[in-house]
C-alpha cells in the first residue's frame, strides 16, 4: 500500500535526514561529516538530501531553526504558572540542562558546531537564540519591576552572562569523557543560586517568599 498521505511521507524523510545529520555532525563535526555519511545513516541516497535541503549548510541551519523552536516552546511551558522571578531563574537553568542531558547529540551540534563559522555567527543572525535568551531577560525585567532584582543591572548583560555560564558548563559536560562525573541538575541549582543572590536587590516584598536557594551540598 502506498503512503496514504504524500506530505506525511515527505515529512518523514525530512526528519529522517535531520536526525541522521545530528548524529553524524555530533560524531565527526560538521566539516568532517560527509553528505554520504548522512545519507547512509538516514538510509537514503546522497542525492535525496538535495531534494529536501539546498546544501550541506542548509541542513545545519535547519537543525538549528527547528530544534530551537522546540526549545523555546518548551521553556515557556516549563515556566508557566510560576510567579516568583527567582524561582523562574532556577527552573530556566534546570530546563536548559535537562534538554542538554536528554538530547546529547543535538546539544553537541548546537554548542560546538554552530559556533563553527562566520556563516552562522556573523552573516546569520540567530533570531531563535535571541528569542530563547529573551525569555530570561524578561524574567529579569519582571523581577526588577517587582523589586526583587536590583534595578541597576542591565537585563541584557545578565542574560548573556547567565546563558554563557549555562552554556560553558554544558559544553564541559558534553566534552567530558565521563558524563556522569557531575550532575547537571545539581550544577543548575548552584549556578541559579549564585545568580539569584547576586541579582537580589532588596528585601522581598511581603508575600513573595524568599525562596531560599538550595545549594548542591546542602540538604
Amino acid at each position: 500500500m502506498p503512503p496514504v498521505d504524500p506530505a506525511r511521507e515527505r515529512t518523514d524523510k525530512h526528519d529522517l535526514i535531520l536526525d541522521a545529520a545530528i548524529d553524524v555532525f555530533a560524531e565527526k563535526g560538521f566539516h568532517h561529516a560527509r553528505i554520504s555519511d548522512i545519507a547512509r545513516r538516514a538510509g537514503v541516497a546522497d542525492g535525496t538530501i538535495y531534494l529536501y535541503f539546498r546544501n550541506k549548510d542548509d541542513v545545519l541551519l535547519t537543525i538549528f531553526e527547528e530544534k530551537m523552536g522546540i526549545l523555546i516552546a518548551g521553556v515557556r511551558v516549563a515556566l508557566e504558572g510560576i510567579t516568583d522571578p527567582m524561582q523562574k531563574v532556577r527552573v530556566f537553568a534546570r530546563y536548559h540542562f535537562r534538554q542538554v542531558e536528554d538530547h546529547r547529540a543535538l546539544a553537541e551540534v548546537l554548542q560546538i558546531e554552530l559556533r563553527l563559522s562566520n556563516k552562522f555567527l556573523k552573516e546569520y543572525r540567530p533570531e531563535k537564540l535571541w528569542e530563547y535568551l529573551g525569555v530570561f531577560a524578561t524574567i529579569v525585567r519582571e523581577g526588577q519591576e517587582g523589586g526583587v532584582i536590583r534595578p541597576d543591572l542591565d537585563p541584557f548583560v545578565l542574560m548573556w552572562a547567565f546563558f554563557g555560564a549555562l552554556d560553558e558548563i554544558a559544553m564541559q559536560w558534553v566534552l567530558a569523557k565521563r558524563r556522569d562525573k557531575f550532575s547537571l541538575e545539581a550544577t543548575a541549582d548552584t549556578v541559579a543560586d549564585v545568580f539569584i543572590r547576586g541579582m537580589a536587590g532588596m528585601e522581598p516584598t511581603a508575600g513573595s517568599e524568599p525562596s531560599r536557594p538550595r545549594t548542591v551540598e546542602e540538604t
Copy 2:
C-alpha cells in the same frame, strides 16, 4: 648587511606569519581562509609557511598556544599584590575584557574559530585554557579558605560559570556591528559584582566597598 642574528630573522618570519594568520582567520574564518591568503598578507610565498608550520591546523594551534601563554602570564601580573579575593575577581574580569578589546582579531579567532571542530575541543585538550581558568578557581579556593566565599560552592563550577559569562559577553561584543555600543569595562564590573555577591558567604569585611556596578546605558 645580512641579519646579524639568523635566529632573530627566523623568529620574525614566524611571527609575521602568525600575525597575518590571525587577521585572515578573523576575517574569513579558519576554513575559508586560504594558505595563500595568509602568505600574501605576510608577504611570503605559500611554501614558506610550511617551513615554519607543519600545516594549516598547526598555524591555528600555535596561535592558541602562544597567545594563551601571554594571556596567562598577564593575568598573573595583573593580580599581583591584590589580597582581597573579591577584588581579584573584579580585576580578572577587567583584565579579560581589556585583552579582548585590545586584541580584537585575536579574540575573534580564539572565540569563534577555536570552537570550530573536534580537532580543538575533543581530540586536543586545551591545557592552556585550563591553566587560565585555574587562576580563577584558585581565587575562589582562597576566598573559601579565608571565609569570604561560601564553602559549599564548587570552585570548578564557579570557574566555568564565570568564564562562560565573560566569554559569552565578549563574543557578543566581538560580533556586534557597533563595537562601541556597550563598554566592556563597565560590563566587567557588572558581571564581577553579580558573582561576588552571589558567592559571598558572610558580611563583607569592613573596608571592601560594595562598588556599585554601572549599567550599559548609564553614563
